[in-house]
């Protein structure tokens, strides 16, 4: 596969980046109670004693969340293990129990990896389950808790299941970070665990970043950046932070391990919650929840049901069309396109033709896809592969086969593409040159300029049935026939 050029934060420096991606799992109900897991409801309507953390309430594990976590773990080639929930204790007004139920030293998924389109492989340290907090809205001041006049809390989000996917510090530049999030997002969507909507907060990214001189093998002090709400914020924040850190080192200053936030408006990172650096979360096993021991038969069942991932499609395609441009490749392996391409490849259609029709004609039709099923798509490409249809005929027929659900054979007749083998095309061209004997004679004697006129005549009469290339081939063939007749 293609490799990328790594861009460092400054000449002679490189980034060391690890990402923590929090994804909301699209379970029917919340992680520990029966409240609907819904987005965009009226504030504080999807709540109960459990997700409000009322005195006396107890959490009960949502089996669907475990199922989703297993699917993600399998897709990330992780080890799925018996896991334990812990309490992460700290006081914050959006957290109704003042502790978060999360997984700590024994997460459900450990030691996975994710292959990027570039071919780079990023290690996954863990992917663990935890509950989301309520949502704080600060009124007055600058919309931050320190300066607000008052704050509102919406507990609809409280207890929504999150899967936190922690990468190894294997990412080496901001574009690679973006590529990682994009690839991870496609996996989460493919296995049905998340809707992957960053703008609705169902995918949230924190980045751990440090820099070091190229060649250095140890890690330097890292900074955690929060509040990265889009891929654009992610790359910009990493670039800013990389430059800032290099500058600090070059100025001989000390790097502090701290949490910073990305200020989108000012395009800078700023220090956050200095006090929390001293936080001791006092983790201990959650006594209200027994360990989660996934059933091995469920794991095997989910493994067998795992959808085909982009990395697998990429590998299959690479084997057939090794020199494919990466943008075309990413287009045709996308979910919308892939069933058509896969069907065509399975049917033995020439791979380059299958890719070209997918990337161009099919992609143009995808927004309004109707009667063009993968089977019909393959049938048309098969006709083209056999030479029964010319290229332009095939393109016309693809659109027609989407608009009109009649059998392909009927559509071929309807479009008048029936007389389309080589002899039939020759007959059509012969008919035209018979009506232009002078021009034919000049062409036959070697005047190439007349070819255009003759082909124009052919296309005017038969253009819907045959392609220009086919017509030219037939014309050339007829001239050769005439010469051999003379000799």
């Amino acid at each position: 596969m293609s490799s990328r050029t790594i861009a460092g934060p400054a000449k002679g420096w490189e980034y060391v980046i690890g990402l923590e991606v929090h994804t909301e799992l699209k379970t029917v109900t919340k992680l520990f109670c029966g409240c609907p897991n819904a987005f965009g409801e009226e504030p504080n309507t999807s709540i109960c004693p459990v997700c409000l953390g009322l005195p006396g309430s107890l959490p009960v594990m949502n089996a669907q969340a475990v199922d989703f976590a297993i699917r993600v773990g399998l897709a990330l080639n992780a080890t799925i293990q018996r896991s334990q929930f812990h309490r992460k204790n700290y006081f914050y007004p959006d957290m109704p129990k003042d502790f978060q139920i999360s997984q700590y030293d024994v997460p459900i998924n450990a030691h996975g990896r994710l292959e990027l389109p570039s071919g780079a492989v990023i290690g996954i340290e863990r992917a663990h389950l935890e509950e989301d907090t309520g949502k704080l809205v600060h009124r007055g001041g600058h919309g931050r808790i320190e300066s607000a006049e008052y704050s509102l809390i919406d507990y609809n989000r409280s207890g929504v299941p999150l899967l936190e996917i922690v990468s190894a510090p294997d990412i080496r530049d901001p574009d690679e970070a973006k590529e990682y999030v994009g690839e991870l997002r496609s996996i989460l969507v493919a296995v049905g665990a998340s809707d992957g909507r960053m703008e609705e907060g169902s995918l949230r990214v924190d980045a751990n970043v440090s820099v070091r001189p190229i060649g250095e093998t140890t890690f330097r002090t890292r900074v955690e950046i929060k509040n990265l709400n889009s891929l654009r914020s992610l790359t910009r924040a990493l670039e800013y932070e990389g430059r800032r850190q290099v500058q600090l080192y070059e100025d001989g200053e000390t790097m502090l391990q701290q949490t910073r936030f990305w200020d989108e408006a000012r395009s800078v990172t700023g220090a956050l919650r200095i006090k929390e650096e001293a936080n001791d979360y006092r983790y201990f096993p959650e006594p209200d929840l027994p360990p989660v021991a996934p059933d091995p038969s469920l794991i095997e069942e989910r493994r067998s049901q795992l959808p085909e991932l982009l990395s697998a499609r990429r590998a299959q395609l690479y084997a057939l069309v090794p020199d494919l441009r990466s943008d075309l490749r990413e287009t045709v392996i996308a979910d919308a396109c892939w069933p058509y391409l896969r069907a065509a490849l399975d049917a033995g259609i020439t791979p380059s033709r299958a890719v070209a029709r997918c990337a161009n004609e099919l992609t143009a039709l995808l927004a309004e896809i109707d009667a063009l099923s993968p089977e019909r798509f393959v049938e048309i490409l098969g006709l083209e592969d056999q030479g029964t249809l010319g290229a332009s005929q095939a393109k016309i027929l693809l659109r027609e086969a989407n608009d009109d659900a009649k059998p392909i054979g009927d559509l071929v007749v309807k479009l008048g593409f029936t007389a389309n083998d080589a002899s039939a095309i020759q007959a059509m061209v012969a008919e035209v040159i018979n009506s232009c004997p002078e021009e034919w004679a000049r062409y036959r004697d070697g005047d190439e300029k007349v070819a255009g006129f003759l082909l124009g005549q052919v296309m005017r009469q038969h253009g819907r049935q045959i392609s220009g290339a086919d017509a030219r081939n037939a014309l050339v063939a007829l001239r050769e026939e005439a010469h051999s007749d003379e000799s």
Binding site: P55, S57, P93, F99, F284, P287, D288, P290
Partner: protein, 478 residues
């Protein structure tokens, strides 16, 4: 008539109600009169609603008159420890931080009692958040032992124990984290039962130490305790630690005796007891032997380490469980310039000294750098306690020990020495650490007329056996 009504156990009461010898309204009337006499002196209740109780009594009489079949607890006046969530009463855990808080839901045990037509009188006093052994740590009042008003009723379920002992309620529910049902039962002369961990749903119990807490009944007789236990035990999908087992049949096995049963006397627990308590335990043993059981001695030294382990694990869990009382959504809120200051001011004012002490102990035990030395070590000791019990149960069916080393002590006597107070839990704590069931049965009184409690301990799910043996002791010492 009223005094006679107060003498009836649940079965007798049901029979009289079925035979129309008495109405439910009359029963409630008798208890109302008793409460009017006793409560000003005993001070067992934090909330009482006799009008609502009498409304329910009238409805039940109506249903009975229409020929409807009523539940097993029909007409039974019940008191609930005030750490059980009730929509009908405020639920405060005897803490200022929850003053006036009315839960929007009922605890599972409350639902089950109501399903069986039990009549809730009110909520009883306790040590704040169930932290204590005397009910002196309540933020609202001190409950007095009905046998001697100068003495404590034990704790933390002291209000429930005193209410049953003074016959203001026929039965009561308590919670037991380190002996909080059994010890007050012993000190007030009633039966107190802590089921196997997971037998009774904790949903709606204000958590103190989640891995140790169990709800159970306090009652005047072993049979009444058995009836209430049957009503509240059994799986609850709202508690993930709830056992799958259904409620065991206890009442029907009460008469089966102890012939051939092997009982182990835990000598090192007996050694903690005062001479008079020892005599009470020996009297109980004599009844078992007379009924055909064999009793032999066994020493389980690990059980004594349980005390130290308990005072790490319980505060650790409590420090986390009590974090939610932060002034944000319910209960007390003290103003502060920032959220953090508000939380600090609220918790400073809302919690009493014992609760603060345990939050600090627990926070310390879970802190980075101390976690392994304290919390992890305590969990290892817990494993040792379990192993000691397992060893004992290879030779014995049940164990016997004192419930409390002493009879009821004077109010204020131990308030200045928390460690001495903690020591009074040494005989009850091991069952909480192991999760096994135990029951305290009255065994005569000391020279001052104060009740002595004897404790029977059994392996997990051995409730039927425990109740059979308890019944024999009750019978033998009557």
């Amino acid at each position: 008539m009223n005094d006679e009504i107060l003498d009836w156990g649940i079965a007798e009461l049901q029979r009289r109600l079925d035979d129309r010898q008495v109405s439910t309204v009359e029963v409630l009337g008798a208890y109302e009169e008793q409460i009017a006499i006793q409560e000003p002196e005993v001070e067992a209740f934090l909330a009482l609603d006799l009008e609502s109780a009498k409304d329910v009594a009238r409805q039940q009489d109506g249903r009975r008159a229409r020929g409807e079949k009523l539940g097993r607890l029909a007409g039974v006046p019940i008191a609930l420890k005030d750490n059980l969530c009730t929509m009908a009463f405020p639920t405060t855990a005897a803490s200022k931080i929850l003053e006036g808080w009315v839960p929007p839901y009922d605890a599972t045990v409350v639902e089950r009692l109501r399903r069986d037509d039990g009549i809730m009188l009110g909520k009883t006093n306790l040590d704040e958040f169930a932290m204590g052994s005397s009910t002196e740590n309540s933020a609202y009042k001190i409950t007095h032992n009905p046998h001697d008003l100068e003495r404590v009723p034990g704790g933390s379920s002291g209000g429930s124990a005193a209410a049953v002992a003074s016959r203001m309620a026929l039965v009561a529910l308590g919670s037991d984290t380190g002996g909080s049902i059994r010890q007050p039962a012993a000190l007030t002369g009633v039966v107190g039962f802590k089921p196997t961990y997971g037998r009774v749903s904790r949903y709606g119990l204000l958590a103190f130490a989640s891995s140790l807490d169990q709800i159970g009944p306090l009652a005047g007789t072993v049979e009444d305790a058995a009836i209430v236990a049957e009503c509240i035990m059994g799986h609850d999908p709202r508690d993930a630690t709830s056992l799958q087992e259904g409620s065991p049949r206890l009442v029907e096995v009460l008469g089966e005796g102890v012939q051939g049963l092997r009982v182990g006397l835990v000598t090192n627990l007996l050694a903690t007891a005062s001479p008079q308590v020892k005599t009470g335990v020996n009297d109980a043993i004599a009844t078992l032997v007379k009924a055909g059981a064999t009793v032999d001695e066994i020493t389980l030294e690990e059980l004594e380490f349980g005390l130290a382990a308990y005072y790490v694990v319980a505060p650790a869990e409590a420090s986390s469980n009590l974090a939610r009382y932060d002034g944000v959504r319910y209960g007390l809120r003290e103003p502060g310039a920032t959220v953090e200051e508000m939380m600090i001011a609220t918790r400073t004012k809302g919690f009493g000294p014992e609760v603060k002490r345990r939050i600090m102990l627990g926070t310390y035990a879970l802190s980075a750098g101390y976690y392994d030395a304290f919390y992890v070590t305590a969990q290892r000791v817990r494993t040792l306690v379990r192993a000691a019990f397992s060893r004992a149960y290879t030779s014995f069916d049940l164990l016997i020990a004192p419930t409390s080393p002493t009879t009821a002590f004077r109010i204020g006597e131990r308030s200045d020495d928390p460690v001495e107070m903690y020591r009074s839990d040494v005989c009850t704590i091991p069952s909480n650490l192991s999760g096994d069931p135990a029951i305290s049965v009255p065994a005569r009184t000391d020279d001052d007329g104060l009740p002595i409690g004897v404790q029977l301990l059994g392996p997990a799910l051995s409730e039927p056996l425990l109740f059979r043996a308890a019944s024999v002791i009750e019978e033998g010492l009557r």
